[in-house]
């Protein structure tokens, strides 16, 4: 069992009731006047309530990752505005953490040093770093692997290291880009549970990009369905789950109904994407 330290290094809630606000955001790659330009995203408008768990589903290549890059400040929008906590996003904002699909653990560092990496860059005192790392190790079930190197861990464990490395920085907005995409179905369910536990503990706003309708339906407060490229939101669904949900809800009748509704929206778009691919547009 996890013993919680007295002052849990959780995060305070966002100062704004609206954590993220996108207004008419579009992203075009390449010269806008060139016929070869790619209109990847939008226009997209979206508001995320502070502390909300929001998932985005959509066909491949619909601009989901572009959306995440804009929120992470890695890639500016071509038009429109993106705000986090009421401030326009220019460069990587403070208090935003990102977990990618690919394994981003540092192979040359131990699990412990991986998790402490960002904290050391912030110049926190050693005992504070130690306290937060210990907490994250325990929270993510990595205590016994403190001194292990990523190569000695399974894919799921490595992704936990990356999540822990993000978590210790106490982000108010956590962006996850198909973080469990490379994992098997059972591991995904368990990782989903851990994600929910982390979300409840930190009060952070979470934006999860996923291919999996099940994952979106199980984890989220709200699910946004995106169209084929250029990606736009064609519907958002309130799941209505209680905050203390876990993976056992996949057996609930409402879960099946929810995924059916998501799929109904998405099916047409996926077919559009496949036809586009057949014409060589993708």
């Amino acid at each position: 069992m996890l013993t919680k330290p007295k002052a849990a290094p959780g995060t305070e809630a966002s100062p704004h009731p609206v954590a993220v606000r996108l207004t008419e955001v579009t992203r075009v790659f390449g010269d806008p006047r060139s016929p070869k330009r790619v209109h990847a995203l939008g226009p997209v408008s979206l508001e995320l309530r502070a502390g909300e768990f929001f998932s985005v589903v959509g066909p491949s290549g619909c601009g989901k990752s572009t959306l995440l890059d804009i929120l992470a400040g890695l890639n500016p929008p071509s038009a429109g505005t993106a705000e986090f906590d009421g401030q326009p996003i220019r460069g990587v904002p403070d208090h935003v953490g990102v977990v990618f699909q690919e394994d981003a653990s540092f192979a040359w560092l131990t699990v412990e040093a991986n998790i402490a990496f960002g904290l050391k860059r912030q110049g926190l005192p050693a005992d504070e770093i130690r306290r937060r790392v210990d907490y994250a190790l325990a929270f993510m079930g990595l205590k016994d692997f403190r001194h292990a190197y990523p190569v000695q861990l399974s894919g799921g464990m490595r992704q936990r290291v990356c999540i822990a490395r993000t978590l210790v920085l106490q982000p108010r907005l956590i962006l996850l880009d198909e973080p469990f995409g490379a994992l098997d179905q059972q591991t995904r369910l368990i990782m989903g549970d851990e994600l929910l536990r982390m979300w409840r503990e930190t009060h952070a706003t979470v934006l999860l990009i996923t291919h999996s309708l099940d994952e979106a339906a199980m984890l989220s407060d709200r699910v946004g369905v995106m169209s084929a490229r250029p990606g736009k939101f064609i519907g958002t669904f309130e799941t209505g789950w209680p905050k203390d949900r876990d993976s056992r809800i996949v057996t609930h009748p409402h879960f099946g109904e929810l995924t059916a509704r998501l799929w109904e929206k998405l099916r047409v778009e996926t077919m559009k994407h496949m036809q586009g691919e057949a014409r060589g547009e993708a």
């Binding site: 992470a72 890695l74 990102v98 990618f100 690919e102 394994d103 981003a104 192979a107 190569v151």
Partner: protein, 249 residues
């Protein structure tokens, strides 16, 4: 495990014994090859008498200097070429076919430029080994996953921090492989150049013994070089394996 561990020593011991036997039974004339045991005794005499100590020192220091220059120069050139796509497209065909050119044909050029001596020897050795390091650097930097670049930005590292704290360690196993190759090429470059354009060093000592019909000394020196290279290579391989183990996923 133990099976594969004894395979190489078994082959080595077998070949040495076969050679010993061939020499002792007169299948191989003593003017051609001395028995390995005689070469070993000769080597011990060489080391005890110290008559070739200066030759050993010269060769080893030339190899070290050439390796250091090739590794540092090759790494820096690799970084520059990696950063400039135009340059890279231009030089990549040359890098790929570089080892098709026998570098030693340029030895007269170096004698003219640098004279007969250590400078020319080191220059040829560097020329021979630097490209292995350039190629390894390009390969290493190519293999740093893009997600690590994104991660560096999310963790708000400056470009210099990202280079030293993320890119360099991520590429390190590949860079080390390049350094290891550079050492091997530096040995070849130095010793072969000593045959051609030197009055000192182990290469020169072997050529001298050969001209004087001193077969015992010649084979003793050859054995010395073989052992030197083998020990160096085994030490570097051990480090290499440890680094490679971290990237094998």
């Amino acid at each position: 495990m133990t099976y594969s561990k004894i395979a190489t020593p078994a082959v080595v011991v077998g070949l040495v014994l076969l050679l010993e036997l061939s020499c002792r039974l007169g299948w191989i004339a003593p003017t051609v090859l001395v028995p390995p045991s005689v070469a070993l005794v000769s080597l011990i005499e060489i080391l005890v008498s110290g008559q070739f100590n200066s030759a050993i020192a010269v060769t080893v220091s030339n190899v070290v200097v050439a390796t250091v220059l090739a590794v540092i120069g090759g790494f820096l050139l690799g970084v520059v070429i990696h950063a400039n796509d135009f340059l890279r497209r231009g030089v990549e065909p040359f890098l790929a076919s570089y080892y098709a050119v026998p570098t030693f044909i340029f030895y007269p050029v170096f004698i003219v430029l640098l004279g007969v001596g250590n400078a020319s020897i080191i220059a040829i050795a560097v020329l021979l080994s630097i490209v292995a390091m350039i190629t390894a650097t390009l390969n290493g930097l190519d293999r740093v996953p893009a997600v690590l670049g994104k991660t560096s930005r999310v963790l708000k590292l400056s470009p210099i921090q990202a280079a030293f704290l993320v890119k360099l360690p991520a590429a390190a196993p590949y860079l080390f492989t390049g350094a290891r190759l550079s050492v091997a090429y530096a040995f070849i470059g130095v010793i072969a150049s000593e045959f051609l354009l030197s009055g000192n060093g182990l290469g020169y000592a072997i050529a001298y013994a050969y001209n004087m019909f001193e077969n015992r000394t010649m084979y003793g020196l050859m054995l010395l070089i073989i052992l030197l290279v083998t020990v160096t290579n085994m030490a570097l391989s051990a480090v290499d394996r440890r680094l490679q183990a971290r990237i094998r996923r």
